[in-house]
Symmetry: none
Subunit: 244 residues, 2 copies
């Protein structure tokens, strides 16, 4: 049997949220990163039209949200809970930044349910709530203005959880495919052609040629010329030669 997809073991817990719009935006933020399990501790207004609007297409997350009377109920069955706070606190918990905290959570989420716990928009989590968690996660922010929107904080944490997956994206960063790159010989032919045209135009003095071609080589080497680009440039150079 396959182990559960680790993100399925992560629940987002919002405690005493005031603005239903933030609940909808949270559902959307979660779903974009592959999180589905939302727990609401005593939300001020839910269900709510504004939550639906802000959820965009993440209605499934919203509709499956579990309403709990207490934080204890929301954390039931979890093995690890992280209190997300704007400011590091003078507490005995171990404090992680968002990235390391996400890695720590994902390490456990491979096997067991874990939770991220977010407090109210105005004052965050109470000391009592933090004390129910195992670790504190601090999202780095500008010390002069660290007032992250609730759903934005969820978005960053959900993003970091996804980034902690072995394959976070639907694809990986790309460089031009090696097969498409121009070979050494055709690139050298391009350089010779370019030099010839530069000389015929009068721009390049063949008695003092070095600096120009070095610059051009350096430029095109940085770009990693592709076959098709060499063909296009040679076509242009041919047309220029004919016209001169």
């Amino acid at each position: 049997m396959n182990p559960p997809y680790p993100l399925d073991n992560v629940r987002v817990v919002l405690s005493h949220t005031s603005h239903p719009g933030n609940i909808g935006a949270t559902a959307r933020a979660m779903k974009t990163m592959g999180l589905r399990s939302l727990y609401l501790v005593n939300p001020k207004s839910f269900p709510d039209k504004e939550a639906e609007v802000r959820a965009a297409g993440a209605w499934d997350v919203l509709n499956n949200a579990r309403i709990c009377a207490t934080l204890e109920e929301a954390l039931s069955d979890t093995v690890l809970a992280a209190a997300i706070t704007a400011r590091p606190r003078d507490l005995s918990h171990q404090v992680f930044d968002a990235r390391l905290g996400a890695e720590e959570l994902m390490r456990h989420a491979r096997q067991y349910p874990v939770a991220l716990v977010f407090g109210t928009e105005m004052s965050g989590l109470t000391t009592m709530e933090v004390s129910k968690c195992h670790m504190v996660v601090h999202i780095p922010a500008d010390p002069d203005y660290s007032s992250l929107n609730l759903a934005s904080a969820v978005q960053i944490m959900a993003y970091e959880l996804r980034m902690a997956l072995p394959e976070p994206g639907s694809f990986s960063p790309t460089h031009p495919a090696v097969s498409m790159l121009a070979g050494f010989n055709e690139t050298e032919l391009l350089y010779r052609h370019l030099e010839r045209v530069a000389i015929s135009s009068g721009f390049l003095d063949p008695r003092e040629p070095k600096r120009f071609m070095q610059r051009m080589r350096r430029l095109f080497a940085r770009a990693r010329l592709e076959k098709e680009e060499v063909n296009v440039l040679r076509g242009l150079l041919n047309a220029l030669e004919k016209r001169m």
Copy 2:
């Protein structure tokens, strides 16, 4: 003289934003991470009450936002622009994920203005807009639902830029200098000049011009043109024009 704080060299460009609330939420997302410079290309409604509400305390960012008629105007003076897209595209630029893209941007932001460019809520950036940028940044998301809210996308990128800062205190002006990159305006002039010469040579049919210039933009964007290279290329183009 101290170099500028690198985040001060980062501008966030929102193109044709539909919902003013997203502009306000963007200002807030920026400010929490220490970004201040917001450019709005043809916003549907701005200034707007809804933007102010969602900005929370980030009114300074909002009030200092620059309204531009075109993306070119917003990118003026930048040396590196990243198109933030939900989906990788055909014939696209070099693609980075959010983390590596932020590192690349910050590497240049130590010395020169750089930009993050975000498209509309519904359809993102146009192909033409992407072609004005040097790189594409993809925010990893669930392939089944990658519909990130605009301000959430800004939040993640702003967070990654902040995470790419060196540790507070360890920032020093002695980093190896990034070579003098060409600015947006001079690069655009080069493209126009190249297109003109390609047309006069007979190589480029102005009734079917798109693919050639897109290819050239993509090639030179990958290379990250330097000032001196643009000067040399323009000199060559001038000579060719005179000779034809």
